[in-house]
């Protein structure tokens, strides 16, 4: 390794302070060309802060950066881009009102770049609709878009903040191979992830952050080290005891009956005659590759989009025609896929974000601040968030915002909970907490529908699993009957669909 003498990027004593929080505390980090460098750590460890500094979005409060041995000041995103640093932020910086193509232009891609973008999208099997408004893309599609944009920029250093958090298994695998390929070409990749498996698969080096400091570095990564890594990240993990699950009750909580929607004129997928019953005390997982109707399904189930009354029942109540607010009163809660800007208002405080959906927090149009503060503290305490209720939501780290959102919806004590990838971006310990909380909800008789591309998440939670493909739903298989082969087939559209699903539902009901 001749280049080892002059590393691509060397970071010395980097500091960033937000009010009382030291987000980055004297971080030293060396990134050599040709390596995949995993950056790990619990939620709030300071990973995204470091990424924002490398992107030129945030100014550090101290420390130095050397690019190929030369000192540099990353004072703007342009500077970073010119040096050859391409970044995917945890919360993507996209203009929702513009099309994909326009967004790429904004990011500095010109016409030949766009062409390359298209060929790459095709080659890696990561389709992105170029002419759709970004607004209409799901979070996972946005992730694909950002990832491809980053690859197209032909950068020397790719900094990826949880790039695989919302990709399905096949996409993730493609992406892993891709990263190795990039490293082989002599580029460097900084990869942030909470999935240890990925780290073991692709990373050459792993650096662990905790409370803003570097607490560990591992160079030879193999399965034996996985536990070490986990311990370094979040401390000792209690072994998760899978609680014995009581069988679901017989009463239906949510019934879809030949639920169909028309596709939007220029985007989206039409849902075709979905029929399925979720019983009380049951968790139904819905798997599938993003863009196969997940967003549409969630919109229809949550009431953002209305249909005919009888095609959707909450317990026995026809509710297809009801809007979001009315369904909430009937006991529906919803964790949307976009946590900033949809599920929460980033510029508002945590307490105000609880007020957004919590019921019983106002009386005669007057906010009850006392109650609100109590409820907010409960949610924060339950999910180990140590911020005061007056913190702006935008000041939380990504994983913390996710915990808050899930916690808020769980605390509504719903009869039916819809959740899009509930453990997106939370660290191992907290993922356990969220899974435990969902199981507890299940034990109380709540029906939970989890829509996710992440199979691990689905396997940890679901009682039955169905696959969504091009707006059609496979039968919901009990977990005992699910195997990878079957799933892969269904996700590629090779499984029996609608008619049989209906048959199953009728048999079950």
């Amino acid at each position: 390794m001749a280049e080892a003498a002059v590393p691509l990027l060397s970071i010395r004593g980097l500091r960033k302070i937000y009010g009382q929080t030291v987000a980055n505390d004297h971080i030293d980090l060396t990134i050599a060309a040709g390596e995949v460098h995993a950056l790990l750590g619990e939620n709030g460890a300071g990973k995204s802060t470091l990424v924002k500094i490398l992107a030129g979005l945030t100014r550090p409060d101290g420390g130095t950066l050397h690019w190929r041995g030369e000192p540099v000041h990353l004072d703007s995103p342009k500077t970073a881009r010119r040096l050859g640093i391409a970044v995917v932020l945890q919360h993507f910086a996209l203009c929702p009102g513009l099309t994909v193509q326009e967004n790429l232009r904004l990011a500095g891609l010109d016409r030949p770049d766009l062409q390359r973008f298209k060929t790459q999208a095709a080659r890696y099997g990561l389709p992105v609709p170029l002419d759709s408004c970004v607004m209409h893309l799901s979070a996972s599609e946005r992730q694909r878009l950002e990832l491809l944009r980053c690859l197209t920029q032909e950068a020397q250093l790719l900094v990826l903040d949880e790039p695989t958090a919302m990709l399905g298994p096949a996409e993730s695998r493609t992406f892993m191979t891709l990263m190795r390929q990039l490293a082989a070409e002599g580029r460097a990749v900084v990869l942030i992830t909470h999935k240890l498996q990925e780290v073991l698969e692709v990373a050459d080096v792993a650096t662990v952050l905790r409370r803003g400091r570097v607490v560990g570095r591992l160079t030879d990564l193999d399965a034996a080290n996985a536990r070490d890594l986990a311990t370094m990240m979040v401390g000792d993990l209690p072994q998760l005891q899978p609680a014995p699950r009581t069988p679901p009750r017989q009463l239906p909580a949510l019934t879809m009956h030949r639920l169909s929607t028309a596709a939007h004129r220029d985007h989206g997928v039409a849902l075709q005659e979905l029929s399925l019953t979720v019983r009380r005390g049951e968790i139904l997982g819905i798997a599938g590759v993003a863009g196969n109707g997940q967003e549409e399904l969630l919109a229809v189930l949550s009431g953002l989009q209305r249909t005919s009354p009888a095609s959707l029942l909450l317990e026995d109540e026809p509710c297809g025609h009801l809007g979001v607010a009315a369904r909430r009163t009937l006991g529906l809660a919803y964790v949307p896929s976009d946590r900033l800007g949809v599920g929460t208002v980033p510029s508002m405080t945590l307490a105000e974000n609880v007020l957004l959906t919590a019921s019983g927090m106002s009386q005669l149009g007057w906010v009850r601040h006392g109650r609100l503060a109590v409820r907010t503290r409960e949610i924060l305490a339950h999910f180990h968030l140590h911020q005061p209720p007056q913190t702006r939501l935008a000041d939380l780290s990504g994983g913390m915002a996710q915990r808050f959102l899930v916690g808020r919806e769980i605390s509504a004590q719903p009869k039916v909970l819809l959740a899009a990838h509930p453990t997106w971006g939370v660290d191992v310990r907290c993922a356990q907490d969220i899974i435990a909380a969902l199981l507890e909800l299940r034990a109380k008789g709540c029906a939970v529908v989890v829509v996710s591309e992440d199979l691990d998440e689905l396997f940890a939670l679901a009682d039955r699993l169905a696959v969504l493909y091009r707006g059609q739903l496979s039968p919901a298989w009990p977990m005992a009957e699910v195997d990878e082969h079957r799933l892969a087939q269904a996700m590629a559209g090779l499984a029996p669909t609608a008619g049989i699903a209906e048959h199953h539902a009728l048999a079950a009901g």
Partner: protein, 352 residues
Amino acid sequence: MRWLRADTALLSGLAAMVLGALLTALAMKMLAIPAIETIQVFFVDPVADGFGRRQLLITAAPLFLCALGLSVAFRGGVQNIGADGQLMSGAICAGGLALAHPHMGVLLLPACVLAAAAGGMLWAAIAAALRIWCGASELLSSLFLVYVAQLILTALVSGPWREPGGYGMETGPLPDGAMLPVWGGLHAGVWLLAILGMLWWLLERHLVMFFRLRVLGEAPEAARYAGYRSDNLIWAAMLLSGALAGLAGYLQIAGPLGRLNPDLSSGYGFAAIVVVFAGQLGCLGMALTSLLVALLRLGAENAQIAMHLPQSVGLLFQGVFLVSFLLCQRWVPILLERMATMTTRRRTAHGA
């Protein structure tokens, strides 16, 4: 540095005043008008005595009232810039009622107040309906409705409502029962408004509707997700800001003017937009800036009489102050941020 962060709004306000004063001085230099005397005439003479100070409060009152309503709408992303028309519509309704039924006794005043609010709401409702049912931008329609209101007002006071045997285009005086009672040299509207101003922060903190409007303005998708009916919220914002503007119109005719004339709005509905932005949507900020704008208006009148300066000089000063406010709002927080970063850096460097 924490105190800096907490009072950024205050600091940027102060900075704006200083910058505004400097730019005004520069403007005076360029116009070759004597600075000291102009400052005296503009900023000191109008409030030199008790009468002047009361005048200031009376001038500021309708501005502040309009601004309160507009701040609610703007927070929700509802671009109602036609407060001037809503103000005139309120004045027309209340004035028309008072002139047509002068003998209603004690009921006349409350009836007029209701009529003024209803008039303002009616005018705002047109823009709201166009927005919600036809998708027309409320920014444009509310603005155009100002001109419609102005034409109707002018037509009324120069035609059917004109005072028989009167001098100019104006109605006869409003009946005594329709006039606001005067306490301590200030009409009741000023006192009530002072109380409203003090209660306003309570309303802002506690009213669910205000909260929902803020959500709608800051993250419309989140409002949808939470199940808020954006149509209803837009209605509420338009009607509330319209009602307050209509009441401001009533303050004018039942306070300082005592009758209707074509100039009764004096552009207060537009000046209120300036007040809202310069006051950064906050209640105290808006109160202070409406006083400042009122002072500039009185000063301009004074300067016209005492120094024969054209009214446009007053407008120029107003513009200068607005620009300084907007500049400082944008740049003072950024500069403070930079300063904070630099001090931390220096401290880190020393520590190392």
